[in-house]
Symmetry: C2
Subunit: 338 residues, 2 copies
């Protein structure tokens, strides 16, 4: 049911009965390595192209998510997913392998929560009993498509971000054991005119702020209702901007409550990732790997994941367009009784 202006309130509290994450070597060198189901030691994963490697990540994550959910493929009603590749080919090919009805979505790096929100909405409304939401990204496919092939070795400014190599998938169900999805706030596009594709965190920060404030307005909740509020991939430049904007708007949050997946997935001081992580997989692997495990351990009771997307294309940038930002927020709680 719609609550407030932009929030779906899931009365039935759909259950995340299983998740899985698969990552590349850089993410395996990061602080969350132990939380992923599989860490590849090589970026190419013995595939013939970066694109085939990205697809493999998602195929593996979706297989493992089914295993973790103790579900057969044919029990899945729908698969919802998207990615950064032109025409979201990684997801379309992974959906072909899954063989279930498929809804392709695109929200750039907000895709993780767009797909989880839609999956939960379908479950809550009785339009499905089991839905998988998934997404993926690969550092080398993103560099090749959006900037330069990595083989060129082109240099980047410190505001740039490092696309996460990985995939995350979650199975949402009408019943079962696991964390529950309480509600989702669907974001508007916010575009303050930033045109620098090497500073996407700043372009997305106002969208994150808009969605977070709308979420609180729509639900009557406040920051203290959450143990953790994470943005998707604002990283070292964008996240402080979001924090400052929220402070100015009367929503102060400290650094333990308000964090960013792009700053969690790598050791930003030691790893060469510029301002931090980005990409569709960034919020997906942190949420479906690390945060799910913290919820299941009892360390977190309720979190808000605010996945952020920069809806540009290389062509729109070349044609002088600014970067439209968007953010979708999903509230996940340890159990139905909360």
């Amino acid at each position: 049911m719609l609550r407030g202006k932009q929030t779906w309130w899931f009365e039935s509290k759909p259950v995340i009965i299983g998740t899985a994450t698969v990552v590349g070597p850089d993410e395996g060198d990061g602080p969350l390595a132990a939380d992923f189901d599989l860490v590849h030691q090589e970026l190419d994963m013995q595939q013939k192209s970066w694109e085939k490697a990205e697809r493999l990540l998602l195929e593996q994550a979706s297989e493992f998510a089914l295993q973790n959910a103790k579900l057969e493929r044919n029990q899945l009603d729908f698969y919802i997913g998207g990615d950064l590749m032109n025409q979201i080919i990684s997801n379309s090919f992974a959906a072909r392998s899954l063989g279930v009805p498929y809804l392709g979505v695109f929200g750039a790096c907000s895709t993780s929560m767009e797909s989880l929100a839609l999956a939960s909405q379908l479950i809550d409304s009785g339009a499905a009993t089991h839905v998988m939401a998934g997404t993926c990204s690969h550092n080398c496919t993103a560099e090749k498509q959006f900037r330069y092939p990595t083989e060129y070795g082109s240099q980047k400014p410190p505001t740039a971000q490092y696309t996460v190599t990985g995939a995350g998938a979650a199975v949402v169900a009408a019943s079962g054991e696991g964390p529950v999805v309480e509600c989702a706030t669907i974001g508007k596009i916010v575009d303050l005119g930033i045109t620098d594709p090497f500073n996407m965190g700043a372009a997305m920060a106002p969208a994150a702020v808009d969605t977070i404030q709308t979420h609180f307005n729509d639900t009557g909740r406040s920051p203290s209702d959450y143990d953790l509020i994470v943005t998707g991939d604002l990283a070292g430049v964008g996240h402080p901007i979001a924090k400052d904007l929220l402070m100015q708007n009367g929503v102060p949050m400290d650094h333990t409550l308000f964090q960013d997946c792009g700053l969690m997935v790598y050791d930003v001081q030691k790893q060469k990732v510029q301002a931090g992580g980005s990409g569709c997989a960034c919020s997906a692997v942190v949420t479906y790997g690390h945060l799910m495990k913290r919820i299941q351990k009892g360390e977190l009771k309720r979190i808000l994941v605010v996945a952020t997307g920069a809806l540009l294309s290389p062509l729109s940038f070349q044609q002088g367009e600014s970067i439209p930002g968007i953010a979708h927020a999903v509230s996940i709680a340890a159990g139905k009784e909360l």
Copy 2:
């Protein structure tokens, strides 16, 4: 509610309270010209790039759809849309202009019915009271991105299709006057291994057949329940294949009942469009322009629109991948009492 395996049955029968279509000069020269809200006389529409022209088409269609629905922008809860452009930029920029919460989707040329199905699902479940579904394509952006810039004048085989220049948008509401959405069947990916991007009709035909048969199985309906069943853009090669496959599978349909938007939007004998129309706008402008008017005139009581998508990218083709096909079907009826 889920009915059968892949079909959402909309008990509340969401109402299409307004639609609009905007097209380019070739579509204006076609047999359906009188059914479109606006026909542009020039392909560039006085914009500086083909991409900006495509965006304008969608911005105009969404504005006109609001006008036709007698709705203000701020009454729209969500906009759902997608297109063929990399990172669906036409829709993201149009959603920025609309300024409402935005769910980006991608199903290639099946996007028209993917977005209409999702919009209707949100209305039916109470997750929204007014949702707009929209999509667009432009012949020159598609040629430039998927094949060669039109300025090269490269020749095409007769199996190729001609991307429709246009945009279509529909406003779906919980109540009001207009045709209603009865149900939607979400397709699986079907890929029989076709790798020729100049023969997408053949690649998509088996997906259309799969979705049509699933629709009948899920709903208990048969072809005789419909006045018209249209595929999205199978055109002159793909549509006869689909018809033959359905015949073989025991679902015979004659040429008045079973048609194709790609064969309706142009005069295929006279206009230089090879096998017929394609593109996201093909099924959108035929459905939201021509078919809606025929329903409102009382000529059609119930139709099934089976939008077909070829989920390839130029890169996946270059890497030797086959073309995954998909089709989503939406049943539209003249009124709730049917």
